[in-house]
């Protein structure tokens, strides 16, 4: 077990930039699940950030923003692209730590998820982007579900954190990919939200899956009568476990 001073020096060197790639990656992953480490890193960022004033502004090529915009449009699906009732999932890191802190009441679930995240992270070399986690928030605050996506087995696992199903209602999982077009496609119901639900996504192209948008909506029992989400959606956010 790392003592406080060791952890502080790890945070300091992470911010300073002197760790090797494997250590950097490990710290970047650990901070997601270790609020203490994350806070130490934030403290060091604050301490050393005055040095940023020594960086001289240098204008990049004038056309660079057009490339950035194209990249975002290719990879990022975000608010405003016309999918009602499904809130976009966005790449996100720091919130996992916050989520974990918020989910202390669901301690066992939180702990097992975090372990899963680490176990899977350590197996893969950097920049593989094979593991994703999405946190679905209700009202943008309370985490309701956590979903992990494993690109190798093409499986999603949805774990309830703080979700209850109103009488006569059921949760339904949706996906939007380039492969399936602009309309959300149902991945089925989350019938027993007391335990994790696993869904197979074998029919999707992995490359498409990587950029997919997921959503969870509250529907009448038996699922959406229209084949499209009709009820209020739960806010979801995707975290790449790459780093």
């Amino acid at each position: 077990m790392m003592d406080r001073d060791e952890m502080d020096m790890l945070a300091a060197e992470y911010v300073l930039g002197t760790l090797d790639p494997a250590q950097r990656q490990s710290v970047a992953a650990r901070r997601l699940a270790e609020p203490d480490l994350d806070a130490l890193i934030a403290d060091w960022e604050k301490r050393l950030s005055p040095l940023n004033s020594e960086y001289v502004a240098v204008p990049p090529s004038p056309n660079l923003f057009a490339h950035i915009r194209r990249k975002i449009e290719e990879t990022g699906k975000r608010a405003g692209d016309g999918i009602d009732n499904i809130v976009q999932i966005t790449m996100l890191k720091r919130k996992l730590a916050m989520w974990r802190a918020a989910a202390i009441g669901a301690g066992a679930i939180a702990a097992s998820l975090v372990i899963t995240v680490f176990a899977s992270n350590s197996v893969y070399p950097p920049q593989q982007d094979r593991q994703f986690v999405a946190v679905f928030h209700r009202d943008d605050t309370q985490p309701a579900f956590v979903m992990s996506v494993d690109m190798d087995s093409q499986e999603v696992t949805i774990r309830p954190i703080d979700a209850s199903t109103p009488v006569g209602k059921t949760y339904q999982l949706w996906i939007v990919t380039d492969q399936t077009g602009p309309q959300p496609k149902s991945l089925g119901l989350l019938e027993n939200i007391a335990s994790p639900t696993v869904k197979q996504l074998g029919q999707f192209d992995p490359a498409m899956l990587r950029n997919a948008t997921f959503g969870i909506s509250l529907e009448p029992e038996g699922g959406s009568p229209t084949g499209l989400p009709t009820g209020p959606a739960i806010h979801g956010r995707l975290i790449s476990i790459e780093h």
């Binding site: 502080d8 020096m9 300091a12 060197e13 300073l16 930039g17 002197t18 760790l19 090797d20 790639p21 950097r24 970047a28 934030a42 403290d43 960022e45 604050k46 301490r47 050393l48 950030s49 005055p50 040095l51 940023n52 004033s53 020594e54 960086y55 001289v56 502004a57 240098v58 204008p59 990049p60 090529s61 660079l64 923003f65 490339h67 950035i68 915009r69 990249k71 975002i72 990879t75 990022g76 975000r78 608010a79 405003g80 692209d81 966005t90 790449m91 996100l92 890191k93 720091r94 919130k95 950097p126 956010r237």
Partner: protein
């Protein structure tokens, strides 16, 4: 002049999917971030690639910025520095930019037009001044230029383990001097 508050508003609008706001944020901040990345990567083409990634990340993570936690410029600079250091750590040593160009970047001393940090800057300056000259140089090379322990070990003709010890000692001394 774009104020910090303006930038925060642009970031918030970006988080809501407003590409025009994001473009304005880009124009207000890209030269600063590019300066960071270029100084660490010392290669214009690589730095422009990195800058694209960085702004895609800023867009994707825009909703995560917490004003109470850091200034927006520090937040964006951290994303840029982390990306640049990740890249430079993974690549084999090579020289790309000619020495004069590097020298020009190192010697000029102008800044982010950042306001609130003047007192923090003085404090860190003061504490850096309390380090032995070699140690101060080491911290600056690591932070500003993205040097690794091994590169520092070469420059100072010391084993890597000694460099690590020196770094830790210097960092602890800075922390103590800054009073937190």
């Amino acid at each position: 002049m774009t104020t910090t508050r303006d930038l925060e508003n642009l970031l918030r609008q970006s988080a809501e999917g407003d590409m025009d706001a994001f473009e304005r944020l880009y124009h207000a901040t890209s030269a600063k971030l590019f300066g960071i990345v270029l100084r660490i990567l010392k290669n214009r083409a690589q730095s422009e690639d990195a800058l694209q990634d960085i702004y895609v990340r800023v867009w994707q993570n825009a909703g995560d910025f917490e004003p109470g936690r850091s200034s927006i410029i520090t937040w964006m600079a951290t994303i840029a520095r982390n990306r640049a250091i990740d890249i430079v750590r993974r690549r084999k040593p090579e020289t790309d930019m000619d020495d004069r160009e590097v020298e020009a970047l190192v010697s000029s001393n102008n800044i982010f037009d950042e306001v609130a940090l003047a007192s923090d800057m003085r404090a860190l300056d003061h504490c850096m001044g309390g380090l032995e000259e070699d140690r101060r140089k080491m911290i600056r090379l690591a932070y500003l230029e993205g040097w690794s322990r091994a590169e520092l070990a070469d420059l100072f003709a010391q084993p890597v383990g000694t460099i690590k010890t020196w770094l830790h000692r210097s960092l602890r001394q800075l922390k103590e001097c800054l009073g937190s």
